[in-house]
């Protein structure tokens, strides 16, 4: 079966002005299968955010290719890129900043729906449904980001990401800035949404907490200095890390 996301030899070189070029991502390749939850861990500066930015096309790749659902999106622009965004959505690290502070949560969640051509009425109904699905009440549509807690905002962000019924959901440290009790709730929500969709939703879960990745992900990639140094089943890697960096990472857990 075709993987949802196939990344081959993806590379990003930041050309320096007056200093040496920096290879932030160095020929990485991986596949994400339908219904799978793939963890991506690495410390700051390992290049994981750059990988995400290239996949979501917020940053142009220097080399390699990205196939989303069989279509090459490495260089697409404009309308084609907007089509790709119907299959791929993202949840960001800082919930409070992921909604426009001057617009309501409902506006934010409904933006893609409106762009899909839904009427105002249909959008309102669908936003209410999405909010309920993500554990909030429909009246959250009328609230502003600063009026809700971090956890509630993150739920709304998940609702927004799910509005276009994407095949791939990218969570970029989506739980890292939340308190542990809230983090647990959000992970539970993601798990529930995934099981409801029975293999229709794949998740790329970027995280620096290996314990959380172990709980949540089917498979994990370990990134270090722009390369994938190890990949496999979390339990197996934690029990028997094959790479020196992974071993050091696991030994550092308090």
């Amino acid at each position: 079966m075709e993987p949802v996301l196939k990344v081959s030899d993806l590379t990003k070189v930041f050309t320096g002005r007056g200093h040496a070029d920096l290879t932030a991502v160095d020929h990485i390749s991986f596949e994400l299968h339908s219904g799978e939850c793939l963890g991506l861990i690495g410390e700051s500066g390992s290049g994981k955010t750059t990988v995400v930015n290239m996949i979501t096309r917020l940053l142009d790749a220097s080399g390699g290719s990205i196939l989303l659902d069989g279509r090459d999106i490495t260089r697409v622009r404009g309308k084609e890129l907007r089509m790709a965004y119907r299959k791929m959505q993202m949840v960001f690290q800082t919930p409070a900043d992921s909604f426009d502070p001057r617009r309501t949560l409902g506006d934010g969640i409904g933006e893609s729906l409106r762009n899909l051509g839904l009427s105002r009425e249909e959008t309102k109904k669908e936003v209410a449904r999405l909010l309920t699905e993500c554990g909030l009440t429909p009246d959250f549509a009328g609230r502003y980001p600063h009026e809700v807690s971090g956890g509630q905002c993150q739920r709304a962000a998940i609702a927004r990401a799910l509005s276009v019924k994407p095949r791939l959901l990218i969570c970029d440290e989506a739980t890292s800035s939340l308190d542990v009790t809230i983090q647990k709730e959000i992970v539970a929500l993601l798990n529930e949404l995934r099981s409801q969709r029975g293999g229709e939703l794949s998740i790329l879960f970027i995280c620096h907490d290996i314990a959380l990745v172990q709980q949540f992900c089917d498979r994990v990639l370990v990134m270090y200095r722009g390369r994938i140094v190890e990949q496999g089943i979390p339990d197996a890697i934690i029990r028997d890390p094959g790479d020196a960096y992974t071993r050091r990472l696991i030994d550092s857990i308090l």
Binding site: E43, D179, T181, K184, L212, I238, I250
Partner: protein, 259 residues
């Protein structure tokens, strides 16, 4: 048991809004107290109160913070400044940004030291060098001659701890000292703080949301929620056999590595 620092029924308010309610605890010399709580629990406010960092809108509205017979909230800013450094020291979440970016680490440490002691540059270099050596830094001379941006985040944090130890304070307040660091670096900083306690017998008040760090360091734990004490006791008891429902909830939410 002798006591070094005592919070006695402390209430703290910002502009009339109470953020800490009726909080009491005692820290003995050389003890490490971990204060845990989620965001907004008032845990950072607690140590800001002792350091006089509440700002113009914050005040200890009720209660006392006793340190060696002095009631910290009632001291004048000048008296408090005299204590900050030789008696009470603090390290921040981003120690790197508490250094001035355009001067070397050594120059800044020298300056903070001469605020409290008349000391020559040679004496300083010897004293700072031996301190850094005791704390396990390789090549102290190079570190002192470096600018903050030349050091990694973890190194900056360790230097922050060393800087706080220059005047050998009785209490070290640490506000989320490891939260901005990668796990592999986190452990180094934890070990650094444990070494400080072993070497100098410094008491540490550690504020963090990271239960792992608490478990690795603290002798006693205070769990806070909405400005109030939920549970206060020995680390082993609080983390492994919590009495309160909230502590249990907190502990169960922490992702733990299954090895």
């Amino acid at each position: 048991m002798d006591e070094l620092l005592r919070y006695d029924h402390v209430d703290i308010s910002y502009n009339g809004v109470q953020v800490v309610k009726d909080l009491s605890f005692v820290v003995s010399p050389g003890e490490i107290l971990g204060i845990v709580g989620e965001s907004g629990s008032g845990k950072s406010t607690l140590i800001k109160a002792a350091m006089g960092l509440l700002g113009s809108s914050g005040l200890v509205t009720r209660g006392d913070i006793w340190y060696k017979g002095k009631n910290l909230p009632d001291l004048s800013p000048a008296e408090l400044r005299r204590l900050n450094g030789p008696e009470l020291a603090m390290i921040f979440q981003y120690a790197g940004s508490s250094f001035c970016p355009i001067r070397t680490v050594g120059a800044q440490l020298y300056e903070s030291m001469t605020e409290h002691e008349a000391i020559s540059r040679e004496q300083f270099r010897a004293c700072a060098g031996s301190l850094l050596e005791k704390l396990g830094f390789e090549d102290p001379g190079r570190i002192l001659a470096s600018y903050p941006f030349e050091l990694s985040g973890g190194m900056q944090q360790r230097i922050g701890i060393a800087a706080a130890m220059l005047l050998n304070p009785g209490v070290l307040f640490a506000d989320e000292p490891t939260s901005a660091l990668d796990v592999s670096v986190q452990k180094q900083v934890v070990e650094e703080m444990l070494l400080v306690r072993r070497t100098f017998g410094t008491a540490i008040v550690l504020v963090t949301h990271n239960i792992g760090v608490i478990g690795a360091m603290a002798d006693k734990v205070l769990v806070m929620r909405n400005g109030e004490t939920v549970e206060y006791g020995e680390t082993g008891q609080v983390l492994n056999r919590p009495r309160e429902a909230y502590t249990r909830l907190l502990m169960s939410a922490v992702p733990r590595l299954r090895r």
